[in-house]
């Protein structure tokens, strides 16, 4: 039979998880919406919440009796979501490979809005880790120290990677604009020559 101490510990653990969930669920949902197809978001979010519950004693910045500070807990939770998403992608990749062979169909990629095509192309041209660092910086609004916590890198490594990735994106965008301008010139020349 469960002792009173065990019951109390259990109650506190549940309360900590509920408090954590209030603070992190929506940011984690947005994190996943930004990175994966809509039909995967809910499953991966559920998986992430399960891992958080299982590891509730390991979440940094959790205290009994008060809601956690989102800046303290979110980077760690993003790290969990990142792991769960990687697992889901591996599983989905296997499943898709199988289904593709059988049905010759492909799952449509994550939709990309047409207005920001150049930017998404520049992001896609980055390495996976560089892209994740940039997204955590811009979309999750994390500082390098927090990105380090989410990705398992050192803060120095994050800073260097972030610097490099920003530079690459800026170059890609410059180059895309230059190409667009050149194409525009050629079109107008073609028209004037007719």
């Amino acid at each position: 039979m469960e002792s009173i101490t065990e019951q109390e510990a259990r109650r506190l653990r549940r309360a900590r998880f509920e408090g954590l969930a209030q603070v992190v669920t929506e940011p984690l949902h947005r994190y996943l919406v930004r990175r994966t197809a809509p039909d995967m978001v809910e499953d991966v979010l559920s998986e992430t919440m399960l891992v958080l519950w299982r590891r509730i004693d390991h979440v940094p910045g959790l205290r009994n009796g008060s809601l956690p500070d989102r800046d303290e807990v979110l980077p760690w939770c993003y790290g969990v979501a990142r792991g769960c998403l990687a697992n889901a992608r591996r599983a989905d990749g296997r499943r898709l490979r199988l289904v593709e062979r059988l049905m010759s169909v492909q799952q449509p990629p994550v939709p990309v809005d047409a207005d920001h095509g150049d930017l998404h192309a520049a992001l896609a041209a980055l390495g996976e880790l560089d892209r994740e660092v940039i997204r955590l910086w811009a979309w999750e609004e994390l500082a390098p120290r927090q990105i380090a916590e989410a990705t398992g890198m050192t803060a120095n490594a994050v800073s260097m990677r972030l610097h490099r990735a920003k530079k690459k994106i800026a170059e890609q965008l410059r180059s895309a604009r230059k190409n667009a301008e050149l194409a525009g010139h050629k079109m107008s020349e073609g028209r004037s020559g007719q």
Partner: protein, 211 residues
């Protein structure tokens, strides 16, 4: 382009701004997580989030693909595709895991409406992969088996079977039920290759394979 300009561009392109995904139901997620894993023991809190095969049953997204039924003699017909991964049996995938990487193959009829005969050892003995296992979870198109006995092939204890989502109705797996699953060398589960078995039928296999 300076940092602020880049940041503005990136934030304008944030997919979360244009997403039509409904907001998550925090209370439901909390309940589901605690219900799924109501006892957080030291063993299961040390889950490896990068390699874990642990699954939650809370998500409803892809769960619609499978119904649940516990028929007296569940006969599974039609197309089954199988993606099988394996782990060491302790719930954690390890680097040493034998990736069976079973792949798909065309199977059975197109609707899965074909009913299969009750499995017999002779009929399935020729497959290189054959196991008697218990379904431990059904999550969308993914069915996790604990392998109770390997009859052909083997080495791992957890098998993940991917059901072809384009054939949602033709498979009904029930958690806790026992099945005999056969697969080709390329990993595909043939038509009528996954069968619910009664204790009596299992005894036939057990005798035939000396298990």
């Amino acid at each position: 382009m300076n940092d602020n300009e880049l940041l503005t561009l990136l934030r304008d392109a944030d997919p979360a701004l244009t997403s039509r995904a409904p907001l998550p139901d925090t209370n439901r997620l909390v309940e589901a997580a605690m219900k799924t894993d109501s006892v957080a023991t030291p063993e299961n809190t040390e889950i490896d989030t990068t390699n874990s095969t642990a699954k939650i049953t809370a998500g409803k997204g892809r769960r619609r693909l499978l119904g649940l039924a516990a028929a007296a003699a569940l006969l599974l017909g039609g197309g089954v595709t199988a993606g099988i991964t394996a782990n060491s049996g302790n719930g954690h995938t390890t680097e040493a895991v034998k990736e069976l990487s079973l792949s798909a193959a065309a199977t059975g009829n197109d609707k899965g409406s074909e009913k299969c005969q009750a499995p017999v050892p002779d009929q399935l003995a020729g497959y290189p992969t054959l196991f008697y296992g218990t379904v431990t979870s059904v999550k969308g198109p993914l069915i996790t088996f604990h392998v109770d006995h390997w009859l052909r092939g083997g080495g791992t204890r957890t098998i993940l079977v991917s059901n072809d989502p384009d054939f949602p109705e033709n498979l009904t797996f029930t958690v806790g039920q026992h099945y005999i699953v056969a697969a080709e060398r390329d990993g595909s589960i043939p038509s009528c290759g996954a069968n619910w078995v009664s204790d009596k039928e299992w005894r036939q296999f057990s005798d035939a394979f000396g298990k």
